[in-house]
Symmetry: C2
Subunit: 305 residues, 2 copies
């Protein structure tokens, strides 16, 4: 898995920051998470390949997480996209997008499938051969869902030198990669352990924005390899965080620490802060493995043993 952050701002395009959007790549599959205004510009700026995206996951319908979606969708039509786009979100987005398409006379060159999710429960909303995606109920002013991406267990890696040594036919390889041994023409058995190497263990990524400090999140994100958690405010604005259903950097770190995650990224920084030093310092006091979601930054999400 590789995560690219396209925006880390809350509340305004201040200090060169942009609204929330992320691209998660799992092998050759591309998932887009949130799509604030200006996402298509950020995609172009950072040369991120998103045209292969088939699934978009929108956390909630506040503008800083969704107002860039219709522009990106329109651009895909200019490129004559034909593949169906699946959009997962809390309720309402279908009406918004369909009204915009009708009123603005947009002619999409591809189909859209909306899947509106219940943001109050944790359910698996998507899976394919590589990954499964679960909702993470969050606590915000409007129905808001985080997203948990879990890679599936991968097949074992064939040792190429063994193919030659035992003259293994091509059509026998899938079964060996799935864990079986191989029977030689003279009846001898070669064990799977001799023929294969362990695959990379499956990794996991959790996206949690926007939300107040919300204890149920801890169990949902337990042990993930990378957690993105919003950190709109610093400690001095803890009351304001509570009032507007946002989190402080220290609260995000508290979630990370109690959930035993491997690494934490902080984002959704309020425009009142010119830099993020205070966020980082306050989070580090609680949880050491923390970074700021710098725009254009890429994170390899690998299973940490």
């Amino acid at each position: 898995m590789q995560l690219t952050i396209l925006g880390n701002s809350s509340g305004g395009p201040f200090h060169g920051r942009h609204y929330t959007a992320q691209v998660l790549q799992v092998d050759n599959q591309v998932f887009l998470i949130d799509c604030g205004e200006g996402t298509q510009m950020q995609i172009f700026k950072y040369r991120v390949k998103v045209d292969a995206c088939r699934q978009i996951f929108i956390s909630h319908l506040h503008g800083d997480h969704v107002f860039g979606l219709i522009g990106l969708m329109t651009n895909w039509s200019h490129k004559k996209r034909s593949e169906t786009l699946h959009i997962f979100s809390p309720p309402g987005l279908q009406e918004l997008i369909e009204t915009t398409i009708r009123v603005c006379g947009i002619r999409l060159t591809y189909k859209i499938e909306f899947q509106e999710v219940d943001a109050t429960i944790s359910v698996k909303v998507f899976e394919n051969s590589k990954v499964e995606v679960w909702t993470i109920p969050l606590h915000h002013r409007s129905p808001t869902s985080g997203w948990l991406f879990r890679e599936k267990t991968k097949t074992r890696n064939m040792r190429p030198e063994k193919i030659e040594e035992y003259n293994i036919p091509f059509d026998a390889i899938p079964a060996i990669k799935a864990g079986e041994g191989f029977e030689l023409p003279d009846g001898r058995q070669v064990s799977n352990a001799e023929l294969t190497l362990d695959p990379k263990p499956p990794a996991s990524y959790a996206f949690c924005s926007d939300t107040a400090f919300f204890e149920p999140v801890i169990e949902m994100v337990r042990g993930v390899d990378l957690l993105y958690h919003e950190a709109t405010f610093t400690n001095e604005n803890t009351m304001e965080a509570e009032k507007f259903f946002h989190s402080t950097a220290a609260q995000a770190a508290e979630i990370a620490r109690r959930a035993g995650v491997k690494r934490l990224i902080l984002g959704h920084i309020s425009g009142r802060y010119a830099d993020t030093d205070q966020h980082l310092a306050e989070a580090k006091a609680v949880f050491e493995q923390v970074e700021i979601a710098e725009e254009g930054g890429r994170w390899e999400v690998a299973k940490t043993q």
Copy 2:
């Protein structure tokens, strides 16, 4: 009048260009013309003061001219704006904005008044003490209106030394600025010509985007001090311009030449062009006083005698 260009791109955020948006300042009044995605970022980048804006004029409902509006409106609410916002546009925008507000749960701190205009006729849609605004019917795939801003004739400028010389009371000055003479206590008349200087003559600005080459525009923009006309393509793509109801740079210059305008700005440049040299050269061959709408650029719009 002062014009600030915030975006000059057509079809994509390419080569560092952004979608159409302009700010026209007339004395202390601020008007916004079109509002493509990313307008609020451009406003912040170029430090343009738009919070005093009371009237927005949207040419048509294609995304590159309107998808930044709801984000800007939301931001004004974050700043606790209280002044009513008047939005002029072809039909449909009210439904789009009201649906977005409802679905996304936006709580505006101010009122909106929509005035949907008939984009097939030329009418005066707004006037106040400083300026009047007329629609300019354009020829595009969807109903599209250009906008003509005409300053009103200004009051004459009082010569301060004459106030002292003739001991003119403060409350007599408005009548003198309006053109009257002044009667001295001994009955002698002082002529207005002695007391005042000519005001700056009223200036005019016409915005024409998006449109195919459309001859009726010529009469509408006759003699304006500054004309902005779209120039999506260069000569080699004249057929494509016609097909998609856009203009070439040479066609824009032809409108300017035949209308006898004083200066021309070209914008809405297609993303296929990495630079605008060809546009400028082809337009200059037809009309000398032409420039490219560089983003962040400011143009003083003064009456040219």
